[in-house]
Symmetry: C2
Subunit: 236 residues, 2 copies
């Protein structure tokens, strides 16, 4: 049973979508869902293709990419576990969805998923709330892209990553160094922030020189001065 994999425990606070819907809806999801593994770099949905599948992300990170002919591309959204993938209702996909890490999906045919939305009112409401939240995130990102400097963008990004990756809950200790691995390469960070690789790298170097972060090597990063970092996230 798929439900065993996805929602093995009814009581645990599961971040995945199925935990937030009711039992009956979860059962309905399971009946139409198909488990799918994708590996890093693999594209799940191509922009321009007819939208035929929906799903939700179980593990890994996907990116939504807007791009034109010859390379100018921009990541317009990141999908984390529990997020919906794709869009219901007919039409062409607006953006290409690609795995940034190996990922696991629970995939539904779009038609089946739409039937489910109709039959299970709670599911439609959940999707609506998710979509409203995604819209707010996208609009905040518009502000970031349009009105902040490279220094603010990178600092803000690192803060976001800290709260998402170093999931040590709400640490009260502002002065304790936190170390974690950035899940994105410099290039991918540049794609998210609307910058170039070089600019991202330079900003990182500046932060390191200012004693705000350390870069032990590889993807690792240590935040040594959260307050200083936050100060740089709001003003140059």
């Amino acid at each position: 049973m798929l439900s065993m994999d996805i929602c093995a425990d009814d009581t645990a606070p599961d971040p995945r979508v199925c935990a937030s819907v009711m039992r009956s809806e979860r059962a309905a999801l399971d009946t139409i869902g198909r488990y799918k593994n994708v590996s890093r770099g693999e594209t799940v949905i191509w922009a321009g293709d007819e939208s035929t599948i929906c799903g939700n992300l179980l593990s890994g990170v996907l990116k939504l990419v807007a791009c034109t002919t010859q390379g100018r591309e921009q990541i317009v959204g990141l999908l984390y576990p529990a997020d919906f993938v794709g869009q219901p209702y007919p039409g062409r996909a607006e953006f290409t969805i690609t795995a940034m890490t190996d990922a696991e999906l629970c995939v539904y045919s779009r038609r089946a998923f739409e039937r489910l939305l109709t039959d299970q009112a709670g599911m439609e409401r959940l999707l609506l709330q998710r979509t409203l939240a995604a819209l707010n995130i996208a609009r905040r990102q518009m502000w970031t892209l349009a009105r902040t400097s490279a220094a603010e963008k990178v600092a803000g990004f690192l803060i976001d990553m800290t709260s998402r990756t170093a999931s040590s809950g709400c640490r009260a200790t502002y002065d304790a160094p936190v170390t974690f691995d950035l899940p994105l390469s410099r290039g991918q960070i540049a794609d998210v922030l609307g910058l170039t690789i070089q600019t991202v790298s330079r900003q990182m170097t500046h932060l390191k020189a200012a004693g705000i972060i350390r870069l032990p090597g590889g993807r690792a990063i240590t935040i040594t001065d959260s307050i200083g970092l936050e100060a740089r996230a709001v003003a140059a």
Copy 2:
């Protein structure tokens, strides 16, 4: 009856929201709706306030503004007639909503609107589809803000405005000049595109010098070379 004002004609292809929902839902909307007039510059919802009202726009244009302390602001969305205003479900408003022109709204209390969403499944689906569309628009705009030059931004904006304002249907005549009034000031255009007033003005001047547009005066604009304009919208 409010319905007389909003949806006087059942058969005409009415762009407003009520035309796209079914009779019963429209009737339900009317019972909870309150007509409201706002004048240019008036703010309907303040960012950070508890979300207590929803509505839909009957006429005029509203802007969604993201801003921080001291003036750096960015328009993250425009609302046109038929669009939903505000968001259902508890929480604080993320963005300030202000009228850019005199406008007419049909306002519902958030609670009443939520009840309606529950009772009328079609309404919830409509709102979901609208929200998905708004999300796509926001993401496309992210691409524009992050990866296009000022010249491309302004050219693209003028094309959008042409198709929206000069509502002469789908003109097959690419070479016929089109004239219309821009609904936004230079400053407002700058806020939408993430530029400054001066840069917008300069780009307009360049387009005029290139013989692509004419600026007869006031808010008026004439597109004399749609093809040239579109060429500039995709590449510098």
